[in-house]
């Protein structure tokens, strides 16, 4: 891919932000942009694993939303278990409980991902049709299991006291939690990019996305690597779900299937297999959702679909598709 083809999608994100800037008062723009960034970063956490899994093994996991649901419930359970840390007015205790919740979410979803890869995904390599069916079935089962464990009603997820409320910048109200979420997402993105670019495992993963057979021919066993990426992706999705539920202050068993459409849109926009692409795609979806929700609320529901259709017409493989996909 030529450098100019890589920079155009970045310019597109800036263009959308500039269009939003031109179309509304500055304070609204700032508030909405912060909201869009936070939403985009949380979406990125959810899709990073999905897109890498697809790139590496050609496996499309329709049950990815289940990891989001279980991560969200894990966070809710942790918050409910330590109410004194949640209600504490010391910010380090607030961050500690947030980190604990994220860790619990990552562990639970990662363990589920490990089991799911072992038991089910391994049987349907190379068969797209059966993959889609099997993982769709798994999403149904996971949703029902979540109801069995946590009950059919919505569970409140109380955010730590220090992260509630908002502060003012240039007259615009910005919620504190959104800033934390955006910064955390950005941190994970940079970490992932660093791992992929500079570590040995990252290089093998990238090579595997480009051409799996060649990597195998060079003597690397790609299957355990894939299992590792699958578990890591599931754990990240769990963290994303925990952040999302903390923001929404509530979680239900259908969270994952409700978000499935949105994360697929992000993955398609970004290009299957590309971490950088899904980062940009998540940003685009976050910003467009918030801007359109403000400017034309009636269009809000359609905006993401229209965005996806427009991008597919421009680049049928998504913004930054990897490996000739």
């Amino acid at each position: 891919m030529k450098p100019s083809e890589r920079t155009l999608p970045v310019l597109l994100v800036l263009l959308i932000a500039a269009l939003g800037f031109a179309a509304m008062p500055f304070t609204d723009w700032l508030t909405l942009s912060a909201a869009g960034l936070a939403m985009g970063m949380m979406l990125f956490l959810m899709v990073a694993g999905l897109t890498l899994i697809f790139g590496l093994m050609d496996v499309l996991n329709f049950a990815h939303g289940a990891f989001i649901t279980f991560g969200a419930f894990a966070a809710g359970t942790v918050f409910a278990r330590f109410p004194q840390l949640v209600a504490s007015d010391r910010w380090e205790e607030n961050l500690l409980i947030l980190a604990l919740a994220a860790l619990a979410a990552a562990l639970l979803s990662g363990a589920l991902g490990f089991g799911f890869e072992r038991v089910a995904i391994g049987r349907v390599y190379g068969a797209h049709l059966r993959q889609i069916l099997l993982t769709t079935g798994a999403l149904i089962v996971a949703e029902q299991l979540a109801i069995v464990i946590w009950g059919p009603d919505a569970i409140p997820v109380l955010k730590p006291a220090g992260l509630r409320g908002s502060f003012l910048i240039a007259g615009a109200a910005i919620e504190k939690y959104r800033v934390v979420a955006a910064l955390f997402g950005l941190f994970v993105f940079l970490l992932l990019q660093g791992i992929l670019a500079h570590t040995r495992i990252g290089i093998i993963v990238r090579a595997g996305v480009e051409n799996r057979e060649m990597v195998e021919a060079l003597g690397y066993r790609i299957r355990p690597l894939f299992a590792g990426v699958f578990v890591a992706g599931a754990a990240l999705a769990g963290v994303g779900g925990a952040m999302w539920a903390t923001y929404a202050a509530t979680v239900t068993a259908s969270l994952g299937s409700d978000l499935t459409v949105l994360i697929f849109i992000v993955v398609i926009i970004g290009g299957l297999g590309s971490v950088g692409g899904s980062f940009l795609g998540a940003l685009l979806v976050g910003l467009v959702t918030n801007y359109v929700g403000f400017l034309a609320p009636k269009l809000a529901l359609l905006s993401n679909i229209l965005l996806m259709a427009a991008i597919l017409l421009w680049r049928p493989r998504g913004l930054l598709a990897a490996g000739g996909r």
Binding site: Q144, P152, F264, L272
Partner: protein
């Protein structure tokens, strides 16, 4: 493939099935029972509820079989089948609720719904299949969710979450009684007419689908499913064939939707558009047997029966395991989808051919031995 004989020597019955039989005595028996029960449902069952259930089975046979055209014969997974189902139903509902119970409104409404569904089917296919077949699944999922949201938001047209209640043409309406006395023990009324309209249309559509998948067109679809590149190399425009299959399946689903609207004299988002119906269709087609048409028909009947009998069975198990809370929670009657989901996963992993496909394979095995 099965009991194949030259066209000239085929019996009328075999020609009616386009030379494609269920392929195993058990499957044939199940199909015969299904057709018999559906054909004489108003005579066999006394209550209107039982007859309405039979009509529901007939409609779901068409819906599942049309979905099989995509899933089993073309090898693409769509999540928008309920959207087309809903378009047909809303076509009828909007026309009849808007301009009164006339046949012309019924025809205009269903034609609009079916035509729009077919166009949308082609549109989605062209947008997504141009790239990768796997995009199709993801994009249909997105489009289906938009359709669901639109139906509940456009309150002035669709009636929103409440849906639309409407009257059907007099001939089909329950208040239509041409004879005061039952004829041969059966009350002739609008309900009976509606039932047989649904039954006949469903039967014709099912036979049409059989004809279609056993035509040269169906053969190309199967070729694409088996090896896309080879089909393309042989000179078939894969995108065109897949898009046509998508349009035909969409139109068939829309017709099933019009039948559903006529049956219920009501339509709303939950009755035709909800994702749980999409899951039902998937279960029917996969458990019955993809790529057989008979499988989805049997699957549809089994699913409707399962919804009747699974809940009491789970209730029994839940009471039995009451001392163990977690086990009991798993057996709650509301958790029937959990068990069907497990069954679905097991079928995909171990019996991907489903009931009819596995039976056929056994039949062939015993013949060749």
């Amino acid at each position: 493939m099965h009991s194949f004989s030259p066209p000239s020597r085929r019996s009328f019955g075999l020609r009616l099935l386009s030379g494609d039989t269920p392929g195993h005595p058990v499957a044939s028996f199940l199909m015969a029972v299904l057709v018999f029960v559906l054909a004489f449902a108003p005579l066999l069952f006394a209550g209107t509820r039982a007859v309405a259930t039979a009509a529901r089975v007939a409609i779901f046979v068409v819906l599942a079989a049309s979905y099989d055209l995509l899933l089993g014969y073309t090898g693409i997974v769509s999540f928008a089948h309920t959207l087309f189902f809903g378009l047909g139903a809303y076509g009828v509902a909007i026309a009849l609720a808007g301009s009164g119970p006339s046949w012309s409104a019924l025809f205009v409404g269903s034609a609009a719904g079916i035509g729009f569904a077919a166009l949308l089917g082609i549109g989605i296919a062209l947008l997504s299949l141009r790239v990768r077949a796997i995009f199709f699944s993801m994009i249909t999922l997105a489009v289906a969710s938009v359709g669901q949201v639109l139906a509940s938001q456009l309150h002035d047209i669709t009636g929103g979450e409440d849906g639309l209640t409407f009257s059907v043409p007099p001939l089909l309406s329950p208040s239509f009684h041409p004879f005061t006395e039952p004829v041969l023990g059966v009350r002739i009324d609008g309900r009976l007419n509606t039932y047989y309209l649904i039954f006949v249309v469903s039967l014709v559509l099912f036979l049409l689908l059989l004809r279609l998948v056993n035509s040269p067109f169906g053969r190309v679809l199967r070729a694409i499913r088996e090896n896309e590149f080879r089909a393309e190399a042989l000179g078939y425009r894969v995108v065109v064939y897949r898009s046509l299959a998508s349009a035909i399946a969409a139109a068939m689903a829309a017709i099933a939707g019009t039948l559903m609207a006529l049956l219920l004299r009501y339509n709303g988002p939950a009755t035709t558009l909800s994702f749980s119906i999409m899951i039902d269709i998937l279960l029917m087609v996969v458990i019955g047997g993809m790529g057989t048409l008979y499988g989805p028909a049997i699957g549809a009947a089994l699913m409707v029966l399962a919804q009747y009998y699974l809940e009491p069975a789970l209730q029994f198990l839940a009471e039995l395991t009451a001392p163990f809370p977690l086990l009991s929670a798993v057996f709650q009657p509301d958790r029937w989808l959990l068990w069907l989901g497990f069954l679905f996963m097991l079928v995909v992993m171990y019996f991907p051919a489903g009931i009819v496909g596995s039976l056929r394979a056994r039949g062939l095995y015993s013949q060749t031995r």
